[in-house]
């Protein structure tokens, strides 16, 4: 899945997560850049990163910048938001 524009999903409500999936500059080589800001960083920071990477990997996203503003979302919610944002960031998805 190729990321060609910014895609966003989620909210800043308690228990939700705001995700932005963005393209990276092409010269730097394919890479996933994760920017995670979470109210539960100390308790779940690693787990959140693991779930985001796993979800992107399942979607076949290998080159993207992913910005996460997490408000204590559970794993299933994080997965859903990342997936929705990634789809909105691909060419296949119609203009919103």
């Amino acid at each position: 899945m190729k990321i060609v524009r910014n895609g966003q999903a989620g909210t800043l409500e308690s228990g939700d997560v705001m995700v932005i999936v963005s393209p990276r500059s092409p010269e730097a080589g394919a890479q996933l850049e994760l920017e995670v800001h979470s109210i539960v960083e100390a308790q779940y920071g690693e787990e959140i990163r693991r779930v985001v990477r796993e979800t992107l990997s399942e979607l076949g996203v290998v080159d993207a910048r992913v910005t996460i503003q997490d408000r204590g979302a559970l794993d299933y919610c994080i997965r859903a938001r990342v997936e929705a944002a990634a789809h909105r960031a691909t060419a296949a998805d119609g203009e919103k």
């Binding site: 910014n6 966003q8 909210t11 800043l12 409500e13 308690s14 705001m18 932005i20 963005s22 920017e35 800001h37 979470s38 109210i39 910048r65 910005t67 996460i68 503003q69 997490d70 408000r71």
Partner: protein
């Protein structure tokens, strides 16, 4: 959030007055240039509000009664969604320091803070770290006299040229930041090109994009409204803090040059704050007298006035040939047209 509804308020209508009163009651004033405002209401009573100006979320206020109910989270989400619709993915929050924790907990990152008056936060795919990394990659030297000048150049005049020649002449290297924000008569690309052309003879100089962090809507909105009634000091202090905290170390800057400003109150406040704040970051501030013509300092606004009046001789006497050639080119026609019609704010 129970019983609270959020909707868009049109500031031109009766809502404008209500929002203003609510902000007043919370010790804030309605800032200029708000493009989109939301109000949260419980019944007929406003309990929270927040607005957008460019990529900046600001004019936030919440009633004590609804704190901790997630009203701010919903309001901020809706404002961000509006920003994304407008294509602004790198967003800022400009607010009072007592709201810092609220926005940190919403996942924003602190950029800079002026004690007891204002804090700037950001979110999105880019951040001040990227800006600093871009600058640091263009660092030419660490050690020696490294000067910086911030210019808008609307358009580039002989006065600007003299300022940059003076600064470069006294330094090992000069970094020039051109204000990025497109709120001036001459668009950024043109202003930057004219700076380049007018300084081609200066060998030890780099021109940088001022980006979001040097006199932008986020750091210094009153620079563009030129309204002395706005919190110019807070804005200037925020801008100076960002310069000192991020830009100075990225480029190892030792000196900052500013042009003396006898007339514009906003710029003279800015210069005073720069002089007050930057020494704390190890930077000496030097104020250079303006180049004068007929006993009056040359300024971009005088050039624009000459252009407006069609007095090309006067314009030519105040700008370098590189700027004059541009002003008379076909490319400049739409801009000249706008200045003549007075449709440009400055």
């Amino acid at each position: 959030m129970e019983g609270v509804t959020i909707r868009r308020a049109s500031l031109a209508g009766p809502d404008g007055r209500r929002v203003e009163q609510f902000l007043h009651a919370n010790g804030l004033r309605m800032e200029r240039g708000l493009e989109y405002t939301l109000v949260a209401e419980a019944g007929a009573r406003i309990v929270a509000t927040g607005s957008i100006a460019g990529p900046v979320l600001k004019c936030f206020a919440t009633d004590e009664d609804v704190r901790g109910q997630g009203v701010m989270a919903t309001l901020t989400t809706l404002l961000l969604e509006e920003e994304y619709r407008r294509g602004n993915w790198h967003t800022f929050v400009y607010t009072r320091p007592h709201n810092l924790n609220t926005f940190l907990s919403l996942g924003f990152q602190e950029v800079a803070r002026v004690d007891r008056s204002v804090v700037l936060l950001e979110s999105g795919p880019e951040s001040v770290r990227d800006f600093v990394a871009t600058l640091a990659a263009r660092r030419t030297m660490a050690g020696g006299a490294v000067a910086a000048v911030v210019v808008n150049c609307n358009p580039f005049t002989l006065g600007h040229q003299r300022l940059l020649e003076t600064a470069a002449g006294a330094s090992d290297w000069l970094h020039v930041f051109v204000v990025r924000e497109d709120l001036s008569a001459f668009p950024y690309d043109v202003r930057r090109t004219l700076v380049r052309r007018g300084t081609a003879h200066i060998p030890n100089m780099t021109v940088h994009d001022g980006g979001q962090y040097v006199i932008s809507q986020a750091t210094f909105p009153s620079y563009f409204t030129r309204d002395p009634a706005e919190q110019v000091e807070d804005h200037a202090a925020l801008d100076a803090t960002i310069f000192g905290r991020y830009i100075v170390p990225a480029l190892c800057i030792t000196h900052r040059y500013v042009g003396h400003e006898p007339h514009c109150p906003v710029t003279s406040v800015y210069n005073a704050i720069i002089r007050r704040e930057l020494p704390g970051y190890g930077v000496s501030v030097l104020e250079i007298p303006r180049l004068e013509l007929n006993g009056e300092p040359i300024s971009a606004s005088r050039v624009r006035e000459a252009v407006r009046l069609g007095d090309w001789a006067a314009a030519e006497s105040m700008v370098p040939p590189t700027t004059y050639d541009y002003l008379r080119s076909a490319e400049a026609e739409p801009i000249i047209e706008r200045i003549r019609e007075g449709r440009s704010c400055q």
